[in-house]
């Protein structure tokens, strides 16, 4: 039983990271109906920004408090990832808006290749390890919970609450939801559609950057190819939860994290990704629009 709870805790931690990345996929998909394949690499860029910021901090100051370091790392990562995602949307996706469905998808795949290779070329192909930032581990009734895990879950909850508030309670969120439903009508009613879409990309990037910082803190290593696997998992999570739905993305992320850690704990670690993808396929076969997704009603 303790083993099970331990694995569940690990799964929730991993799932929180996936969930945060998945929000970016789901928001962009919701608002312009495009799979932003480069989002996983934005997450990786965020992790690298945090890594480099950490190195700058340790080079300038001999001793930094962990809390300050983490906050600064996160802030720089958010700034960097947002700037990149904004620019990418501006130069690579916006000209293709209104084009046929596959054009932006191919551009996004191209962008993903560009971003991961850009980091490989500029920062080198090797793993970049950093020293352990947070090392405390608490023992709760025989289950060891590390401070890192608590931090990740708490930050996820805080970010999600903030996002829920932004999307459901502010005029910006209202503009986003309106744009999502009917872009032309929203424009007619005085919503700056371009600006709303740009902000959506920035918001997604910010969450991905936070996830990237958490990932770096949790595993203590970053590498240029990090964007792909977590990116695909997060995308899977978004689809599993029902693409376009914010709670769905978080739920999907948590589910994927749990499946992964429980499958590796009880069956085989080699086939954990096979299990994840199989469950995705099975869920979609029985519920084609995901767990919390609205069924697509096609009008003739």
């Amino acid at each position: 039983m303790e083993y099970f709870i331990q694995q569940t805790v690990n799964g929730i931690t991993l799932g929180s990271i996936y969930g945060m990345i998945a929000i970016g996929y789901t928001m962009v998909y919701g608002i312009i109906g495009m799979i932003n394949f480069a989002h996983g690499d934005i997450f990786m860029l965020g992790a690298f920004a945090a890594l480099i910021t950490f190195l700058i901090l340790t080079a300038i100051f001999t001793s930094v408090t962990v809390v300050v370091a983490l906050i600064v790392m996160m802030a720089v990562a958010i700034l960097m990832a947002s700037l990149w995602n904004w620019t990418i949307e501006r130069i690579a996706y916006r000209p293709l808006r209104g084009s046929f469905r596959l054009a932006p998808l191919i551009t996004a795949i191209g962008m993903s290749i560009v971003l991961s290779n850009f980091i490989q070329v500029t920062q080198g192909p090797r793993n970049k390890p950093i020293p352990q930032l947070v090392s405390q581990v608490y023992d709760v009734y025989g289950i060891s919970i590390s401070l890192k895990q608590i931090l990740i879950v708490v930050i996820t909850v805080v970010m999600m609450t903030a996002f829920w508030y932004l999307v459901n309670r502010t005029s910006l969120g209202r503009a986003q939801r309106a744009t999502e439903q009917d872009r032309k009508m929203a424009a007619l009613l005085g919503i700056d559609v371009d600006r709303t879409i740009s902000i959506t990309f920035i918001m997604g990037a910010a969450l991905a950057a936070v996830a990237g910082t958490m990932y770096l803190m949790y595993y203590g290593v970053a590498v240029f190819s990090d964007g792909f696997t977590p990116g695909v998992k997060a995308f899977t999570a978004a689809v599993l939860g029902g693409i376009g739905s914010l709670p769905g993305a978080l739920l999907g992320g948590l589910l994927i994290g749990l499946i992964e850690s429980l499958w590796s704990a009880y069956f085989s670690i080699d086939y954990k990704d096979v299990a994840t993808f199989s469950i995705l396929a099975i869920v979609l076969i029985f519920k084609p629009s995901g767990i919390l997704g609205r069924p697509e009603i096609e009008k003739v």
Partner: protein
């Protein structure tokens, strides 16, 4: 256009001012974007700790380049494009362009050129020197042409977005590799078998996803592609895992001549030629050329058959299709199976060519590259896809050859590293400039009275 300031000098001045302003912003943004990633480099020191190395010079160069680029874009390129567009709109109204000799006989010229390619290369570079050109360029490009034509049936004709096409390529390659190593079957027996097995997998994978649409279909096919790759990695007893299967038998000329050095019926020995590995490559070149020809022939014929029409109808409107009595289940499954079959053929060929297969060759990036070729070529257009394959695959192969760049950028410069970066940038650029792909016009298969080419913008998915 009616602009309030009619004085051209005024306009020019305004343009330059705008260009300078935009260039300033571009510089600011690129400075922000590149500051951490290019200005600083993480390196490992002797104690294996990460240290930062600064590269301010490089950062400054790139920022200045971005500013100049943006300025020229605003001041020179954009007005010129606008002028050309308005000139085109007024002048070429309704005037049909008469295609030139090359355009009319493109297919015939291409076929002749390809047939003559190996002898010409051999006479130019000699036996050993020709290897690189025939293998790295000829065969490599033709494999991608074939894969892209195969995927074109699924994506271009039937409109089913498949992000896991490489799975069928893998099935074909591993069918050949495993059946020839374990059972000693020959290439010519296994080639159709690989195709059949891949088609079979196409049906198996296609069946559960029939209800899914668009992007859901895309993610499930992506998942299937990853599952097959992961199984190949982890089922070590059969597939030898990440080490891959090596020592795969070579193909023979229908069993008459062999290319094994020790075999008594060795090709070179039979004709008293000097020993060289080039014969095998030349032979393979003609094999893949024939396979490509079959793929093209089948695609063209299928398009004018009821099933091909059904695919195209399905792509344009699934509901209308169903109302008209088309069985969407069999239509989708045949598309999946046919596309997968060609992937399987290409896979078996790949196994025979490399003599070695490993899961490394079947990553998602391959699927993405194949799909990119299909879309960049202008979906549904076989010629466009072939052009895209030559440009994208040939172009990146060419980057391997640019060793003279070392003289400019110093001996540490490896063009190899920049290959995929440039590939990605090219993908984005082509897509932004030509969203409909290289060949944007369509010849309809079914028509009333007369056949008119339509712009790709009129078809739903831009192919047809």
């Amino acid at each position: 256009m009616t602009v309030s300031s009619t004085n051209p000098a005024d306009k020019q001045q305004g343009l330059v001012a705008r260009g300078l302003r935009e260039a300033f912003f571009a510089g600011l943004i690129s400075l922000g974007m590149f500051s951490l990633y290019i200005g600083l480099k993480t390196d490992q020191n002797m104690r294996n700790e990460l240290v930062l190395v600064t590269r301010w010079g490089l950062l400054a160069t790139l920022v200045i380049l971005a500013m100049i680029g943006r300025f020229l874009m605003i001041v020179v390129v954009q007005p010129r494009l606008a002028a050309r567009k308005s000139a085109k709109a007024t002048a070429a109204h309704g005037q049909a362009e008469v295609p030139g000799f090359v355009a009319r006989n493109l297919t015939a010229i291409a076929v002749v050129a390809l047939l003559l390619f190996p002898p010409v290369i051999v006479s130019l570079f000699g036996m050993q020197g020709s290897l690189k050109w025939i293998d790295n360029f000829g065969i490599q490009i033709l494999i991608y042409v074939m894969l892209a034509w195969g995927l074109n049936i699924v994506v271009g004709l039937a409109g089913l977005l498949d992000l896991g096409y490489v799975a069928f390529y893998a099935v074909g390659a591993y069918s050949y590799a495993l059946l020839s190593t374990y059972f000693g079957l020959s290439f010519w027996v296994l080639l159709p078998m690989a195709g059949i097995l891949a088609a079979f997998w196409g049906v198996i994978l296609g069946f559960p996803v029939l209800r899914l649409r668009g992007d859901y279909l895309a993610v499930v096919t992506l998942a299937f592609g990853e599952i097959i790759r992961l199984v190949l990695i982890n089922w070590v007893e059969v597939t030898k895992g990440t080490f891959g299967v090596s020592g795969i038998a070579k193909a023979s000329v229908f069993g008459i001549w062999s290319f094994d050095v020790s075999a008594p019926n060795n090709f070179a020995k039979a004709f008293d030629l000097p020993m060289s590995s080039a014969y095998y490559k030349i032979f393979l070149f003609y094999v893949i050329l024939a396979l490509c020809a079959v793929t093209a022939y089948v695609s063209i014929r299928l398009r004018s058959m009821p099933i091909g029409r059904a695919w195209e109808a399905l792509r344009e409107d699934e509901i209308a299709c169903r109302s008209l009595g088309i069985n969407t289940v069999t239509t989708k499954l045949t598309a999946f199976a046919t596309g997968a079959m060609f992937g399987g053929f290409a896979g078996a060929f790949f196994g025979a060519r490399q003599g070695f297969v490993s899961p490394e060759s079947f990553v998602f990036l391959e699927s993405a590259v194949i799909l990119a070729i299909v879309v960049l070529g202008g979906m549904g257009s076989l010629v466009g896809i072939a052009i895209a394959a030559v440009v994208m695959v040939g172009g990146t192969e060419l980057l391997r050859e640019l060793t003279f760049l070392k003289a400019i950028f110093g001996p540490d410069f490896t063009p190899e590293l920049y290959r995929m970066l440039i590939f990605g940038l090219a993908m984005v650029t082509v897509m932004v400039l030509k969203p409909r792909g290289f060949v944007g016009s369509r010849q309809p298969t079914a028509f009333l009275h007369e056949r008119k080419a339509v712009s790709g913008s009129f078809t739903k998915e831009g192919h047809g």
